[in-house]
Symmetry: C2
Subunit: 119 residues, 2 copies
């Protein structure tokens, strides 16, 4: 029998910040958890929307014309093509959903690009 | 500026059980919240997987060969084509993700089929 996917338990196995881990797949989408702290890089995903759901902590999704600040239990979908920069003052745990193959750094690439990993 | 989507707040506006409400869209997927209690109908979605994430309460996803019991913070993806019947002893609040146009009762249809609604 399949077992429930406990998001908090999965997050315990995540060691690196800003390195999403795939916990499940929904058709051709990847369901990920990620730990973040500090500021990421400005980037956009030209081909896809991206869903952020805060599981614990607080996340600011900076946009060029302002920012959306998310608390636990709050979500936001960054529309495709929109530049954004996620930022968290304290450690924040997220669920992140986007199509498999989507790079975490989008069109920016660079040293913070993470390879896809499953846990 | 866009605003955060607070899932608990959205759920306060949901009055009917087993009637999913769309709170956001991710490409051609619908992000929904739903209140459930009691047993639904056996059905399957021949064309798509379906993601259940428990936001509060507890949900049993019955399958023909057993069941997966989900608590708060736990999720499960029912694979496409697999018969299932969600069931909750007490009131349970869920996030439900699947492609827009997917019927809540899948191939079973019947009186519990809900029309798509946004809140």
């Amino acid at each position: 029998m399949p077992v429930p996917i406990n998001l908090a338990d999965k997050l315990k196995a995540v060691k690196r910040l800003w390195s999403p881990a795939i916990v499940a797949r929904l058709n051709d989408y990847k369901i990920q958890v990620v730990k973040v702290k500090g500021e990421f890089v400005w980037h956009r995903h030209p081909e896809t929307d991206e869903l952020f759901l805060v599981l614990s902590g607080s996340l600011a999704v900076r946009l060029r014309d302002g920012e959306v600040v998310l608390s636990e239990g709050e979500m936001f979908v960054v529309p495709r093509g929109i530049e954004h920069c996620p930022s968290a003052e304290g450690e924040c745990h997220l669920m992140l959903i986007e199509p498999a193959g989507t790079s975490n750094t989008g069109d920016a690439s660079g040293p913070r690009t993470a390879s896809e990993q499953e846990i």
